[in-house]
Amino acid sequence: MSSAVVSTSAAFGRPFIFDSKAVPEVSLPSEPAEGQGRPPQRVRPAGLASADPRLAHITPASRLDIRPAPEMVSSGVPAIDALTGGLPRGCLTEICGPASSGRTTLLLAALAAATRRGEFCVVVDASDALDPYSAAAAGVDLDRLLWVRCSESSPQKECSPRGHRDTEKNSLKNQIQSQSKNQENRLEQFLRATDLLLESGGFGLIVLDLGDIPPLAARRIPLTTWFRFRRAIEHTPTALLAIEQHAIAGSCSSLLLHLGSADDQMLRTEQTAAERQKNAAHGPSTSLRVNSSRGSPVVENQKATEGRKKICRVEQSVIDFPFVAPTHAQLLTGLDITAELIRSRLDRKPARSVMFATKTAWAG
């Protein structure tokens, strides 16, 4: 019925207003009763309810309240802000991508921006993967960050790699079983903790980190759960951000970003392994030369593209001078990340992408 009305109005170029004065007559398609056919009834819209009492509770779309656009906050990365307008408050934003695609970088940038605004933030860490030093280096105010670590083992045992020799002795079957059980436990903890935090309220940004959860396990989270999360933050100043390998929230997310390394395509198109190695993407944007007088590396800032071309030279320098090696900061600066806007319910624009580079702020 409604499609007939819309098509009529559209044909005449009129606005779709259910008003008895503006639209004098409409045609109601009648359902032919069994055994007898009836011609279409022509009734006035004012008499819609009287004609069919089932229509009495229907509110015309034109009279519905217009949902206000959500407030957008900075994601901490200007390129992303330019692409999406920022992160929407009261909505779910999904950031997906494979490992080493820059998800955590963007996550920490968003946390840093939120804590700079004076907001309190939460990271619900399904795989206990957050590195506090990276967070501090990204500018996150750790006093304003609540970290929920969904893990089974105690942090003391995790500190030393040597503490896990015993687990290596277990059989592979037992390991797989315990891993799947641990994942289930973690996901259960993750969902319950998220529910509690959303109910508590008062946080500016809640980050759900499912980055290391395998897609098969992550897809077990029912869509109704994501719907519940979205409803919990609706009309609140909380921005909900989920990090995962593949999009799993479906239509519950208002914004979906896909991250990938800027050079993935280049790597795929390269033919030989030698060339791949030569163009080893995400290479440093700086080149090194050894200062012979002091025996320590000196950094020359150059453009990222030039840095990639000189990757072999850098590597050679490292090999030749292993104990005067450059720092993490010098070698890991200039990782290019491509962010692709897959879906946005806030701004109906075609899918597009943007690229931004990262730097490393710590020294090895």
């Binding site: 901490g76 990365v77 494979p98 490992a99 080493s100 998800r103 955590t104 970088t105 996550l107 940038a109 700079r116 004076g118 309190f120 206990d128 993967a129 590195d131 990276s134 967070a135 990204a138 500018g139 105010d141 750790l142 960050l145 609540l146 929920v148 670590r149 969904c150 893990s151 105690s154 942090p155 045992k157 030393s160 790699p161 503490g163 290596e168 390991q175 903890q189 903790a193 509690l196 508590s200 008062g202 946080f203 500016g204 980055g211 290391d212 100043p237 993935d264 392994a273 791949r276 080893a280 993407a281 490292v318 292993p322 450059p326 993490h328 890991l332 990262t358 730097k359 490393t360 090895g364």
Partner: protein, 538 residues
Amino acid sequence: MPFACIYVPNFPVAAALRAEPELQARALAIVEGKPPLEKILAVNEEAVRLGIAPGMTKAQAELCSEIALRPRSALQESAAHAALLDCAQSFSPCVEDAACDTALLDLAGMESLFGSLPEISRAISNLATTLGLAINVAIASNPDAAMLAARGLCGAGTPFDKLRAGFARVTVIPAGKEAEQLGPLPVEVLFANPHAEDDQKKAAASLLETLDRWGIRNLRALAALPEIALSERLGQEGLRLQQLARGGASRTLIPVEAPLVFEEAVELEHPIVLLEPLAFLLNRLLEQLCARLGSRALATQELRLTLELENFSLRNQPSKISNHQFVRTLRLPQPMLDAKVFLKLLQLDLNAHPPGAPIVKIHLAAEPARQRSAQGGLFLPPSPEPEKLELTLARIASMVGENNVGAVELLDTHHPEGFRMRRFLSEAPRKNEREKASDLAVEKSAVTALRRLRPPLRVQVTLERSQPVRVVCAKKKEVQGEVLWKAGPWRASGDWWEREAWSRDEWDLALQNGEAVSFCRLVHDLLGGGWFVEGTYD
């Protein structure tokens, strides 16, 4: 100058009823003494109807099956006394602790704060009801008249007859009408001092007998006696009593500073085994504590729960302080005053740390603290409510472990996991202008982040000229493959002076596994000799 008197009639029974309000409708008798010579000390109205009277032996009282017998509890009485003083202190700074069941307060100047005298007396009565006490309030122009009026509402010996006769629990005696109002009271109220010693009691009994012989039954008759004749027969004590009966005695209050001790306790007739009935009792104690704290405009930041256990035989319980006590201390980040929140926090804590034996006595103490003050603002960023947040964190901690939720504090060390978890506060220190300016000046460039693998993954590494060229990991395919690019090693060590010494070489690798490229941090444990992938750059 008006004075008020707050009197708790039948104090031992009132203290027991405050701890167990469900006994209100039952016959209750308080027992005192050492077995088997226990005697009834006090009874309530229902018990009087059943024929139970003070002075009977416990065996005699037990013949009545409907009566509830409770031992006299000094802790309950001291808590009730403290609640009485809290009630008085919340209306006047000048309070005299006249007896364990009586408090006198100076109401001079309080009318501008709390309203007229009847309004003040009603407010006192309401607050006492909130604190679990049924009281009599009397206001008069001098303290002794107020005390006589308050005690007279429930005169010694015949308390319940008086109440049934229609006496109000709240009385305001206008100035100049003390003798008229106090006249109908029995002369026994002049000697109703629970702290009287034996000699004083004997003297009082002798005086009462004399007055009874004279036919003096109430204060009006005593007040009408000629002063000189009374002085000749009873001396100065007789004149003092007559002054009291006329409501003309005048004295100054002896103010006390009530100690800020907030403790409540309940002794159980039968030991509790389950946490659910324990929560029921805890709720009652917490409500009483919160009411007392609220009457003094205070909150609490620390709750200490002491459970006395039966057949205590716990193993590996660090929180025990003796063989028969189980102590849990609940420390809050901010002062709070919400009994429901406290109850839930205690429940969660006891779920995580059960007592391990039946409970026979519950003692709950609150450390008083000033209530927090905060200035809200329309344009301030949102922050979680402290009560809700504390409850949420406790619930999450019960799921993931206490050490797995909170804020991070970085330690002054080069250890890769050099941090510790601490309590998350919803009131982070505010930044000054300089720090804000430095924040704004932060370069808006994303920083490459490391995702840690906890625990680190043991991997097999193929080396060429001491350089890793291939990494194999059975557990995680993302961190294995040919080494496309590498940087390192960076050698780090520390804590060599302790047993947890560590020494390692770190490599940054780009690994190609099929079409995918991943970046990871490879660690060579120099002390243990293994290779581990510590995390991935993401």
